[in-house]
């Protein structure tokens, strides 16, 4: 059977990818079994519960707040006509280009006791000391929740908006005719129909939240990520660190499982509704301006204000902050991000394709394996990547020993290590987005293609690729932007003298002098905007 032999080829590919991308984690777990667990017991007896509950609260807080921000935005821009809608539709994705630690830094500067807001309030009201009045403390768990949600809500917004667009308008119209107000339609029709998409987005957001280190560290909120750092780099106990990573993996698997469960009922290949070009609701008067005001408010808080402050720093400190190397840093950031996006997309398409054509329950295992790197904080991941790579390098050196060629740290000492770490970390994003758009391709198309004599590979390239274009583009965009912002893995794995924009910014932020890195920080945001613009435009044309 020609078909089954080529199927096994895909199977090998998929499993290979799954193995490779989960190898760092496997090494980490293996390593964790070696040592004793005294440190872990100590943590268990002291702070681990606080860390765990903080992590849970952080995740819950971030996904709730993201829902509150993003669901109305998605609904407004997908279904309603109001002043400025066209602009908001893409502008509301902009905060995605903002690294969380930068927004956290800026808001802390603005809102903490010594910041201009509280200083002004004290001057106005004549307060003398912190005991004279109450003002919320931004460096707290709620503060961290707000900061992270401001940067991550666009995931939900983007995915929810797309889901609404792909729902048939007629369903909402039908509910309207049956006496539902727009709000009732939203809760009874649009929301349940988009449930799968929403859960997928929230899974993404919760994993990003879990992996965040810079923000919670800056806000002195101790989470499991903090615990991993402490145990590894403070107690020097890899065993305990790996065990804590295990707890985080548990969270990860729970969120992945929830996502899959919610997709289960989603297998209906919905008819794409004809043209959803006109708005469903034409808002007028107060409600129209209310919608505009809401969008403006979110945009201001999440993007315009921080970027303006950053631009202000850049102007004030231009002489110290300007650096002729910027273009090189920007180019290096860009290069790595492009490579990683391309590789992550390619791998995820291969794996998801196997998931589609494969048989049996185990066909989705490679994808799940490959996605495990997502919830690991960057530094942990970086060290996890070093484990197999240095081992491989040693083997390589032994192998080449009798020749004149000396590979040295061919893999772990080059940009390869960075790219691998990024791919391991962000594969899950690509996988999720590609999988979501694959669901919408009817299986009969595969059968049609195969009946016309096309093999798996041709079906993939001739039928699926063109249909997946939009999903792939979205996935590539998300991976790209995350790569531009990614810090800890880059910091630790980069070759000598290799700076990305993020590492350059970090050396100043780590000294609480963002002002001196403001120009590079602006660069990160700006470089992130370019792909946002193009992807949005292509999605517009598609609509």
């Amino acid at each position: 059977m020609q078909a089954s032999s080529s199927l096994s080829k895909w199977q090998v590919f998929a499993w290979l990818i799954g193995m490779c991308l989960s190898a760092p984690l496997a090494f980490l777990i293996f390593e964790s079994l070696q040592g004793d667990s005294e440190v872990f017991t100590h943590l268990w007896n002291t702070v681990l519960w606080d860390y765990t509950s903080n992590t849970l609260l952080l995740i819950l807080g971030v996904i709730s707040l993201s829902c509150v921000i993003a669901l109305p935005l998605g609904w407004l821009t997908a279904y309603c006509q109001f002043p400025g809608r066209k602009v908001f539709e893409w502008a509301l994705m902009l905060p995605l280009a903002m690294p969380t630690y930068i927004i956290a830094y800026i808001y802390t500067d603005l809102l903490d006791y010594a910041g201009p807001v509280q200083v002004t309030l004290r001057e106005w009201f004549g307060w003398q000391s912190p005991n004279d009045y109450w003002f919320f403390d931004i460096r707290t768990l709620p503060g961290a929740i707000v900061m992270i949600a401001l940067v991550l809500y666009p995931y939900l917004y983007l995915i929810f908006k797309t889901a609404l667009r792909e729902q048939s308008f007629k369903l909402v119209q039908a509910s309207q005719l049956m006496g539902m107000s727009p709000l009732q339609s939203f809760f009874k029709v649009s929301l349940p129909l988009a449930r799968g998409a929403i859960v997928a987005a929230l899974a993404l957001i919760s994993m990003e939240t879990m992996a965040d280190f810079a923000t919670v560290h800056y806000f002195a909120v101790s989470t499991l990520t903090t615990a991993v750092y402490d145990t590894w780099l403070g107690y020097y106990s890899l065993t305990a660190a790996a065990k804590i990573s295990g707890i985080m993996l548990l969270f990860l698997f729970v969120s992945l499982m929830l996502e899959r469960l919610s997709r289960k009922n989603d297998t209906i290949h919905e008819r794409q509704s004809s043209v959803n070009d006109t708005a469903l609701y034409r808002l007028q008067g107060k409600s129209a301006w209310g919608a505009t005001a809401y969008c403006v408010a979110v945009l201001m808080i999440a993007f315009v204000l921080p970027v303006s402050i950053l631009a202000g720093y850049a102007i004030d400190y231009f002489d110290e902050a300007w650096n002729s190397q910027f273009f090189l840093y920007a180019w290096q950031s860009l290069k790595v991000s492009l490579w990683v996006s391309a590789i992550a997309i390619l791998l995820s398409v291969l794996v998801v394709f196997y998931q589609r054509i494969g048989e049996g329950k185990r066909k989705s295992v490679p994808g799940r394996f490959a996605s495990t790197g997502y919830a690991l904080p960057g530094t942990v991941l970086a060290i996890a990547v070093l484990l197999p790579l240095t081992l491989l390098d040693t083997k390589l050196n032994e192998w080449f020993a009798e020749t004149s060629f000396e590979p040295g740290l061919l893999l772990s000492g080059s940009i390869f290590a960075m790219i691998l770490a990024y791919v391991v970390r962000f594969y899950a994003i690509a996988h999720g987005a590609v999988e979501a758009s694959y669901v919408r391709i009817s299986p009969s198309l595969d059968m049609a293609s195969q009946s016309m004599g096309k093999g798996f590979f041709q079906t993939l390239t001739l039928v699926h690729f063109p249909l997946l274009r939009r999903g792939i583009l979205t996935a590539a965009l998300l991976v790209f932007i995350e790569c531009m912002k990614e810090l800890p893995a880059a910091l630790l794995l980069r070759p000598f003298n290799f700076e990305t924009l993020a590492t350059h910014v970090f050396q100043y932020v780590s000294d609480e002098q963002l002002e001196l890195a403001s120009v590079s920080a602006l660069f990160i945001v700006l470089v992130g905007l370019i792909p946002l613009y193009f992807v949005n435009r292509s999605m517009e044309q598609h609509n």
Binding site: K170, L171, Q173, A174, Q176, M178, G179, V189, L193, N265
Partner: protein, 348 residues
Amino acid sequence: MSSLLLQNLSYKYDGQSVIKNLNLTVEPNEIVCLLGASGCGKTTTLKAIAGLIQPQHGKVVINGQCMSDESLFVAPQHRNIGMMFQDYALFPHLTVAQNIAFGLNKLDKSEREKRVDEMLELVHLTNFRGRYPHELSGGQQQRVAIARALAYRPNLLLLDEPFSNIDAQVRYQLINDIRAIIKDQQVSAIFVSHSKDEAFAFSDKLAIMHEGQIAQLGCAKTLFQQPKNKVVAEFLGQGIYLDATRYNGAGVTTDFGDVSSMVPLSQSQQQGKIFVRPQHLELVNDPSGQVSVEQQRFVGTEYVYRVRFAEQLIEVPAPADKVIDANLPVSFKIKTHAVNFFSEQELN
């Protein structure tokens, strides 16, 4: 009091007039079909009635209550209108019973269940109440859609091309079923279609739409026998234009002899053209005939000839016992019928 009144309705989209000064009246318990080619504005009219779009001019009155005019616009959820969509728009996340109960939120629980049971029985789907839409056949989905649209006793039922996704074999059975259900529930209905066969089978009255206006409203027979204009005449079927001169109130003279009309001629002009449908033509062998035969085929009970006359093509049936010799000159013979007589001005 009529169920629906549309007065001077106009709607523009992107600067394009989609509906222009449209007027329409639907009487209680009447099924009216908006019939027209695609792009004539029929679906837009339906949406304007439902309130899914807001017309710039004109008035929509349902059961005597004004729903929309220049100063007033009642939102769709307050119009109490039932609508059946082309793709049925069943909620994929709800079961059959939940779909039907969706619009019944004003009733209490027991009443709601009673009504759902009633509707399920009406559409013969009692055994399918727990199924999801994707587990049903096309015809079953359609019956759910009609049950859902009628469950909350709407003032008016709108149907947007409801039969276009149904196999031809079962289509007419379904049309009859649904018509019976609508009549049973005593509700006025407006039905949009581009197929005149569906329209004849389903509706009481037809409104032929053309370029955003109602070209003519009437029952099928009137439209056929006395089309108000060329558009209506041509829309209802193939035909051929022949030069004609009126000879008195009751007939016209043509190149193929005099034709007396079963209805009074609509035009007072002397010169004009008549529009003749194939079933009123008979082919005969005639040495001086000007009609050329292009194709002859046998279709079971009769022959069909494709013939050309004065640059016009038409397919004319001929009973098997009245076969002509296609190699000899051929001419028409026109039967007595309700003559559609148009003046030259009208035709241009």
